[in-house]
Symmetry: C2
Subunit: 437 residues, 2 copies
């Protein structure tokens, strides 16, 4: 099953906001085994949208659009689709009744603008929206000489788009995918950390790949993921077995050559792998953040159930906070400066004491763009780890861009802790496993 995603909105096209919807939709489709073959962004403009629908239709059997279904005049998706398929709008009385009822519950009258959301294309299937006023819509495009194409049109508000995807679109796509016994892609991801992309590629060297197999290097600030992929074009179980064996073969070679950098496998993120490791060991973590301002805590608590092992942290953005809340000594600040090995170590041991945790991380650095000196230029970061065997800190020199420096600091901190945890024999066993997870 091939899927194309069209994101609609000037604000995405001109870069005012991130296109997170497309990423999320692509993730969900990949998870059920479908192939996302095309992603595009169009502005709030009917002609562009029609043109992109033509392109998407030539590449995929399923199109998912997000955006442009709201109640204001710049929302052009519904009318454009109606024109595109030669349909017309008609009142959906039950949706109107539900919208009125929701308004009444909130002690308001339904505005004319929101009431218009109950006008729906006659030939489209409506996909109720449990949160907002815009209905999701399912069209079927058909034309002589072309295979039929399903087009799901969803709102752009992330929570509404996700709710309709989860309730209506994904179940239906999953069913279609199973029914078609469609070509599947199988992936296995190995997570490495503590080694950079080109060094890792040299270590692994050439691996003979058969036609349908791929090996991708995916660097991030946390480490390099290795994604082994196999396409199964005929979808018989015999071939599926072959594909699994092929993935296992490559997996083995990588573990032999670079196993010491592999800290986990599967679709999890490195933070989730860290979370699992801490939970397995019954250990806890706290953080002291200066230049990252909360980004490390935020990254750790993105994981569901993080309160089991993450106790909290202190954002010590000022020297006063470092002294009063973390016990960093004035004399140490004076002698070495706030961005120093000594302060990083006092920050992590201080927060470990305050929160009484097994492990702790302290980050202090110059994120930029201001605040750099010749001795400590922008991008200088010290990261301390306190644990069972005492505390240590490492020096990093990242780049000149604030956001990147903050993200790389968080990536390096998680990497350091994972490598530290990996010294425990348990990890070696974990690495030696080769099950497809």
């Amino acid at each position: 099953m091939k899927i194309a995603i069209i994101t609609i909105g000037d604000e995405i096209l001109i870069g005012q906001i991130e296109n997170r919807n497309a990423t999320w939709i692509a993730q969900q489709c990949t998870e059920i085994g479908a192939s996302v073959v095309h992603q595009t962004v169009v502005g709030d403009d009917s002609e562009s949208l029609k043109r992109e629908l033509d392109v998407a239709r030539s590449r995929a059997g399923v199109i998912i659009t997000t955006g442009g279904l709201g109640p204001t005049h710049d929302d052009i998706t519904k009318q454009t689709l109606v024109d595109y398929v030669g349909d017309e709008l008609t009142l959906n009385q039950s949706w109107l009744d539900l919208l009125k009822q929701r308004s009444t519950q909130r002690g308001r009258e339904l505005s004319a603008r929101n009431a218009e959301q109950a006008m729906v294309p006659r030939t489209a299937t409506v996909l109720p929206n449990p949160i907002g006023t815009a209905l999701g819509l399912l069209f079927t495009f058909s034309a002589p000489g072309l295979p039929a194409c399903k087009c799901y049109s969803l709102p752009g508000v992330p929570s509404e788009m996700k709710a309709i995807m989860e309730r209506h679109v994904i179940p239906s796509l999953r069913e279609q995918h199973m029914a078609e016994k469609a070509a599947s892609k199988i992936y296995l991801t190995l997570h490495t950390t503590g080694i950079e992309e080109s060094a890792l590629a040299d270590l692994i060297g050439d691996i003979p790949l058969t036609g349908a197999t791929t090996l991708a290097y995916l660097p991030s600030y946390f480490g390099v993921r290795l994604r082994i992929g196999a396409v199964d074009d005929s979808a018989t179980s015999r071939i599926k077995g072959t594909m699994n064996r092929e993935i296992n073969r490559i997996h083995h070679i990588i573990l032999e050559r670079a196993g010491r950098y592999v800290v986990g496998e599967g679709p999890s993120t490195l933070v989730e792998i860290l979370a699992d490791r801490l939970k397995e060991n019954g250990e806890t973590l706290s953080v002291a953040e200066s230049c990252t301002g909360g980004l490390l805590g935020e990254t750790l608590t993105e994981v569901q159930g993080s309160s089991e092992w993450f106790m909290g942290g202190i954002i010590s953005y000022s020297n006063d906070a470092k002294m009063n809340l973390l016990g960093v000594e004035q004399s140490v600040l004076d002698a070495y400066g706030a961005v120093s090995q000594e302060v990083a170590i006092q920050m992590c041991t201080g927060v470990q004491r305050q929160f009484n945790t097994t492990w702790s991380i302290g980050i202090t650095g110059v994120a930029g763009p201001a605040g750099g000196t010749e001795e400590k230029p922008v991008g200088t970061v010290w990261i301390g780890i306190a644990g069972k065997r005492g505390a240590f800190a490492k020096h990093f020199l990242f780049g000149t861009e604030r956001r990147v420096n903050r993200e790389r600091s968080v990536g390096a901190a998680v990497s350091m802790l994972l490598l530290e945890l990996s010294r425990i024999p348990h990890t070696q066993q974990h690495n030696a496993s080769n099950s497809l997870t």
Copy 2:
């Protein structure tokens, strides 16, 4: 000047990582007055890339690609472009020398893999990379009957892509744009907060727009931005003046009808507006975060120079932390629970005391997916604000999704503080201004 952006990489196409590069490139191009007309994502596949180059070329005079220039075998961009224009690779000795020199400085030998990065297409202009090994490349596509098209090919590593954009691509595009006296778009953004999209649209009602003028509603968790846009097709200064007058006319109507919700204007974010307001008043802020886990601190410290007004925070992810570090009382936790008005208020007053700040924010809630009860379902959040006039807290009921609940909490907190700050007469004056910023 019309620009198309192509992002290359399976990891983006299948949703493993966010496509932040395209957003950033689009922002930069929009800022110099160019029109981004097309954005697309392709996998690590030569045929798809060639097909998308054809499409992009039919829509724009400038193409910017990002990704696929790395040193590993799944990086296919350079070879694909060489094939696409019928070029060949040749050694760039000065780049090879520089790569060797950089390696030596780092005490390593240049690997064969990285040395290959010095092989460049004969007809392309090279755009040196100050950070990494991959050169940026500039091709000129020409074909009978088609206008010439420039294609900038940049690495996918964000810091490298940005460095090459800033040093080479943007200056050259800006120059070309000026030379062409190309059609410009002018935008003015007004920031509202504390009112939802459809209510705001009702309040503003219909505004007669002339042909080239647009008004877009851009909702986010922080508020609704109103973006007034005018396209200047002839680019003479006489018309530019007309466009400015047209934007001013719409601006005035909006301020008359919905001015009390407008907290700022211009390209800044609401957090930057908050930062400016605090700095102007010489005031400071601290935060106490539970369910947001650091996201509020992170959002506030994204702003450059935030250490001037942001003193820090406490991530009190456990009840112990709430009591020990914020002075929340055991009896209050027992009587009302951690997610309650009383605890939100004790959190913000506690952190205000600890950091000795003018203002403080406390957030406590059930982010989900677990932890909800009938009385306090997932999505329940209390946000407290402590300031000059004491403390208060507001109740919110967001949705079921963890990430969204955390983001909406941060948006609501910033909105509450901005509205609270806007009670100061100063703000009214600010709103009444109508300069194009």
